[in-house]
C-alpha cells in the first residue's frame, strides 16, 4: 500500500483513533517524568542558580515552535503540489499548537532573562525573530479564519507558511548569523563538542521527547477534528441544496 493512502481521510481516521491514547500517554509520561526529574532531582547551576530549571520548558518549547512551523511548511507544500486535503488540514491543526509553544518559549525566556540579563526583553536577533514567528502564527491562523472557501484558504495560508519559514529558520540560526545580542548559542547541537552538562542534558532530552510526543498527539487529534468539521460542512451544504 502506498504511503499516501494512510492520509486518505477515512484511513487517517481509522489508524489515528487507536494511536491517539498511546501518543497522549507517552507524552504525559515523558513530560511528567522529565519535568519531575529536572525540577526536583537536578542541582542548581553554578552561574545561573535555580533558574537553570527553566531550561526544561524553554528549550523544548522553542524547539517545537520552530519545528511545528517546519512541519506546517512540509504539509503546505504537499497541499500545493498534490492537493492532498488532509495535509492542508494537518497544517491548519498544527498552528494553534505551534503558537502555544512559541508563547511558552517567549514567556519563559522573558522570565529567565530578567534575573540573568537584567531585562525581560531585548531586541536581540533571536528574540526578535521569535517574536516575528509568533506574529506569523497569528497571521496564519487569522487567514484560515478569514476565508470561507477551504481550498482558497489552504492555498493562501500555504504561501504565507513558505514566507514565514524564513523567520522560523532565522529564529534557529539568528545567533550564528549575527553573532551578537544577549541570547547564547544552541544548548544542544550535534556539531558541537560540548553541550549542557549531562546532569541537565538527560532530563532535558526526556522533556524534549515529551514536547515532541505532545505535539504529535495534539496535531493528530486536531486533524481528526478538522476532518470531521469538513464532513459536517459538506453535509450541511447538501442539506441546504435539497
Amino acid at each position: 500500500m502506498s504511503l499516501w493512502e494512510y492520509a486518505n481521510p477515512k484511513k487517517f481516521m481509522g489508524w489515528t483513533g487507536p494511536v491517539l491514547p498511546w501518543a497522549f500517554g507517552a507524552a504525559g509520561i515523558c513530560l511528567v517524568g522529565g519535568l519531575f526529574w529536572g525540577f526536583f532531582l537536578t542541582p542548581d547551576d553554578y552561574r545561573q542558580g535555580s533558574t537553570v530549571k527553566i531550561i526544561y520548558l524553554h528549550v523544548p518549547a522553542a524547539l517545537m515552535a520552530i519545528n511545528a512551523w517546519m512541519m506546517m511548511l512540509v504539509a503546505s507544500l504537499i497541499w500545493l503540489i498534490r492537493r492532498h486535503h488532509v495535509s492542508a488540514l494537518a497544517a491548519k491543526a498544527a498552528a494553534p499548537v505551534g503558537i502555544t509553544m512559541t508563547m511558552i518559549a517567549l514567556m519563559t525566556g522573558a522570565i529567565w532573562g530578567q534575573p540573568m540579563w537584567g531585562t525581560y526583553w531585548a531586541w536581540d536577533p533571536r528574540l526578535t525573530s521569535f517574536l516575528i514567528l509568533f506574529l506569523f502564527y497569528l497571521g496564519y491562523m487569522a487567514l484560515w479564519a478569514a476565508i470561507d472557501d477551504p481550498d482558497t484558504a489552504a492555498d493562501l495560508t500555504s504561501v504565507l507558511c513558505m514566507v514565514g519559514s524564513v523567520f522560523a529558520l532565522l529564529s534557529r540560526y539568528a545567533v550564528n548569523f549575527w553573532n551578537q545580542g544577549l541570547h547564547q548559542g544552541a544548548s544542544l547541537s550535534l556539531d558541537k563538542e560540548e553541550n549542557v552538562s549531562d546532569v541537565f542534558f538527560f532530563p532535558l532530552l526526556v522533556c524534549i521527547a515529551g514536547f515532541v510526543l505532545l505535539f504529535v498527539a495534539l496535531v493528530l487529534l486536531r486533524t481528526r477534528t478538522e476532518i470531521r468539521a469538513r464532513r459536517v460542512r459538506a453535509l450541511q451544504i447538501r442539506e441546504v441544496r435539497k
Binding site: 542548581d44 535555580s50 530549571k53 527553566i54 524553554h58 502555544t100 511558552i104 495534539l218
Partner: protein, 50 residues
Amino acid sequence: MIPDLGKYGVEVASAYAVSILLLVAIVGLSWRQSIAQRRALEAAEARKNG
C-alpha cells in the same frame, strides 16, 4: 520535597506555572473542540440518514 530555589524561586515557579497553564489550555481546548465536532457530525449524519 520542594527543592530550595533560593532567590530565584518566584521566577522558576512562575515559568512553570505559565507553561503548565498554556499546555493544559491547548490540550483542553483541543479536546473540547474534538468532542463538539464529533457530536456535530453524529447529528448531521443522523439527519442525513433520516
